[in-house]
């Protein structure tokens, strides 16, 4: 009764959760891609898209991907054998347990008329499947906590997934062990299956089971008389053997039984088996009910992602479907961190400490972002830097075991963030090269905005310090610490010949260079000579510099002009970040 009630409740929550999660694929949006597409348009586009694939040659691709990537997980084995083994053990073990053991009345009993959970091969297989999952979970724990795979971060969801699986499996094994030794379980079986009246017969069978089937009896204890055991065996052969294989076959339960033997009577006295039974199925029901909201949802979403990405591409797919797919992909990510391991920009995480540089952490964050939770200014800045600090090398997309098209996802999310108007200094770096190559995918005003915002931010107080009505301040000299690098101080060799400016291809590009560029290279060197760092770190010249090193190459005084411009850029970025931090503190205070 309680069992059924809880089963139906958890099934209801599971079904509701599944429907809810899938509905978010159509209702939520990320980045710029789905700005003007309604939910209903996305649903109908999806139906059309799916139908279009099923009734076309693409179905062959789907079938191939289903076998290779979904079932055999070819993409995982290409990356890491141990991880593939772990996943295969958990996934195949759990699926087989689900079908043969949890759904035995619905599946196994229908397929095999002689099915009985306590006879072989089922008796053995249940334990084998269980051991597979336990071994898989063991490898998971080993990878995360002992081997410490680089950049594999463990969050609350990863802990939950390991814990729920461990509780289900361990409670199952202990339950089996407790039932093997349980005297009340034994009595129940005798009542159900053996039609015994006489005391001597009952005692003989009991002795036989205590001797051979690990039951711990409060009445009889070995060593037993040969005759009694013989009689017990006859009775066993008559009533029990058809339905119960030797316990050794259920090897994990058998081991548990031998460990539990000393406390078996006490355990049985307090209804230990019942308690364990409740623990086991409650854990299963919690796992089931919470599945759509946990990492385990990837059982559904990851195959969907693999299949969808196999037949979709940016050029031919309906933008509505791409918007839907990108939200779905957030659920398909199981935080395996393969992307972070292979990320080309990951060294920047080591240097800067911003976790959101790592793609797997970005994904976790994007889930929060897509769910519409409010983010603090500071978080937004961190994620913006993380998303922008990407070399677009595509490695994450190539290795993702869930087949997520991270390349397009990053592009979309990046645009969504930088177009919000919070200046991102990295927009003024070669990280923007890819954005430039893809400018045709962005509307003209949206394209220009982030660059203008960033230019304003890194210019700092340039306008003010250039305003000749205010007195020049020389106090910058103290804050300027250039002594870290070989180019440090070389500006002091400058004798003002202006060769740097003369050879600069950027200066040559402009009719009126001073107006556009703020300061010319030789003037920047002059500023440094005078200690006017605020002034030197503000002009547009720094960011229009193509770093071609003509100035540095041709300087007769070996001033390391280009390298100094790099240092000034670094300085301007730091200043802009400080200003933004200050701003976010101020807004939060308000």
């Amino acid at each position: 009764m309680v069992f059924n009630l809880l089963l139906y409740i958890s099934l209801a929550i599971f079904t509701f959760g599944l429907i809810y999660k899938i509905s978010t694929w159509f209702s939520r949006s990320i980045g710029i891609s789905a700005k003007e597409i309604s939910t209903s348009q996305r649903v109908s586009a999806a139906v059309k898209g799916i139908a279009g694939v099923i009734f076309s040659a693409k179905i062959v691709t789907l079938i191939k991907v289903f076998f290779l990537d979904v079932l055999l997980q070819h993409r995982i084995i290409k990356e890491d054998f141990l991880r593939w083994l772990m996943h295969m053990l958990i996934y195949s073990g759990f699926m087989l347990l689900l079908l043969m053991h949890a759904l035995d009345e619905i599946v196994t009993a229908k397929l095999f008329s002689e099915y009985y959970s306590t006879i072989n091969p089922y008796f053995f297989l249940r334990d084998l499947f269980g051991l597979m999952v336990i071994a898989g979970v063991g490898i998971a724990i080993y990878r995360r906590f002992i081997l410490k795979v680089p950049r594999l971060k463990t969050n609350a969801m990863d802990h939950y997934a390991i814990i729920i699986l461990a509780v289900i499996l361990v409670s199952g094994v202990v339950l089996e062990g407790a039932k093997i030794t349980s005297y009340s379980e034994y009595q129940g079986m005798v009542e159900d299956y053996a039609d015994l009246e006489e005391e001597s017969e009952l005692e003989a069978l009991e002795s036989y089971w205590v001797q051979n089937f690990d039951v711990v009896s409060p009445n009889v204890k070995g060593p037993f008389d040969e005759e009694v055991l013989e009689m017990g065996q006859d009775l066993h052969d008559a009533s029990c053997v058809d339905c119960h294989s030797p316990n050794q076959w259920a090897f994990t339960g058998y081991v548990a039984a031998n460990i539990l033997k000393p406390i078996s009577l006490t355990l049985d006295g307090v209804g230990g088996s019942t308690v364990l039974y409740y623990l086991h199925f409650l854990a299963c029901f919690i796992g089931l009910a919470y599945l759509p909201f946990s990492k385990m949802f990837h059982i559904f979403s990851t195959p969907v992602s693999l299949l969808a990405n196999a037949v979709m591409d940016k050029e031919t797919s309906d933008p509505a479907n791409i918007a839907t797919r990108q939200v779905m992909e957030l659920d398909a990510c199981m935080h395996c961190c393969t992307c972070s391991l292979r990320c080309s920009a990951a060294a920047a995480f080591d240097a800067l400490g911003n976790e959101y540089i790592l793609p797997a952490e970005k994904m976790t964050f994007l889930k929060t972002l897509a769910s519409g939770k409010a983010l603090s200014q500071k978080q937004l800045q961190a994620i913006q830097e993380g998303v922008y600090l990407c070399t677009n090398c595509d490695r994450c997309t190539v290795v993702c075991p869930a087949g997520i098209n991270l390349r397009d996802l990053w592009f979309n999310v990046r645009e969504g963030l930088v177009q919000k108007g919070h200046p991102e200094p990295l927009v003024l770096s070669p990280f923007s090269f890819y954005r430039g190559l893809n400018r045709e995918n962005i509307s003209t005003e949206d394209y220009a905005g982030p660059v203008a915002d960033a230019n304003r931010a890194v210019a700092g107080k340039f306008e003010q310090v250039m305003d000749q009505s205010t007195p020049i301040s020389f106090k910058d000299r103290e804050i300027f610490q250039l002594n870290q690098l070989p180019s440090a101080g070389t500006f002091s060799y400058c004798f003002g010949c202006q060769t740097c400016t003369t050879v600069c291809p950027v200066v040559t590009e402009h009719e009126n260079p001073l107006e556009t560029l703020g300061l010319l290279p030789h003037q920047i060197m002059n500023c440094l000579g005078l200690g006017l760092v605020e002034m030197a770190s503000g002009p547009r010249m720094l960011w229009d510099c193509v770093t071609c090193y003509q100035c540095q190459e041709h300087c007769p005084q070996t001033v390391q002009v280009t390298d100094l411009l790099f240092l000034l850029k670094n300085l301007a970025v730091k200043k802009a970040e400080r200003t933004a931090d200050q701003l976010s503190v101020d807004t939060e205070a308000v």
Binding site: L352, D394, R407, G436
Partner: protein, 295 residues
Amino acid sequence: MKFALFLGCNIPARVEQYDTSARAVLKQVGVQLVDIREFNCCGYPMRNADQKAFLLSSAVNLSLAEKENLDIMVLCKCCFGSLKEAEHVLKEQGNLQEEVNRLLAQRGLKYTGKTQIKHFLSVLYHDVGLDTLKNNISRQYKNFKIAPHYGCHALRPSKITRFDDPVAPTIFDKLVEVTGAKSVDWNRKLECCGAPVLGINDDLSMNLTRKKLEDAKKVSADYLCSACPYCHLQFDVVQKMIISQNGNDPLASVLYPQLLGLSMGLDEKILGIHMNQLNISDLTSFLESGEENAE
């Protein structure tokens, strides 16, 4: 001859034909390549924002090659320049090297500076040699004018990159001429392609590209030739954008290993001749036929 091949980020994602064609050509002349999967970004795009991120990123690659006892061969000129710059800074500044090594230690790596960094063109010119290249060429180009684009970050700062004479370089010209093509001299040969500011100031970036193209057209070059993915994308993809804006005639760019590979008689498919955005398939029409060569 054995090198760790450094591809960088652009090539695998956007200029795969540079990878395949360079491998094919190098195989032909007996250069062995080792792929180190853990190689990451050279640090180039990080230089504007943070010196430490740049140095660490570069040093990861150098120390990985060092661990394998290999020298690095770089295909991208910006990667090449960055790795050389990082090598220089780390050598000059002991305290930075210590700091970088502290971070590298977390990955079980150490940088001492043993690894040599070479660009693909330097390997062909200095290590393989023009004679070996010549011996491997089966069909020469004829009446074919190539405007080689040297690429800033390999040439300068010359004290650090040591690629070639920064004012009058010749390596690339000689490598072009070994195929029978004529390397034409042009005014903007040593100038920037515009790629470093694409996405930052597109007008500036495209103007620089446009002027280079005009200049190469003035000396009636048939093709530009580059050996850097940034320059290539600028002359290929960005030129295509420019053309769609102003309708100019294209002056397509060929990657050096594509040019060389064709004259070695290598498979067009492997050289990725059809993977360029601008059509370069009539390159083969400049090749003299096999019989003429045999004479």
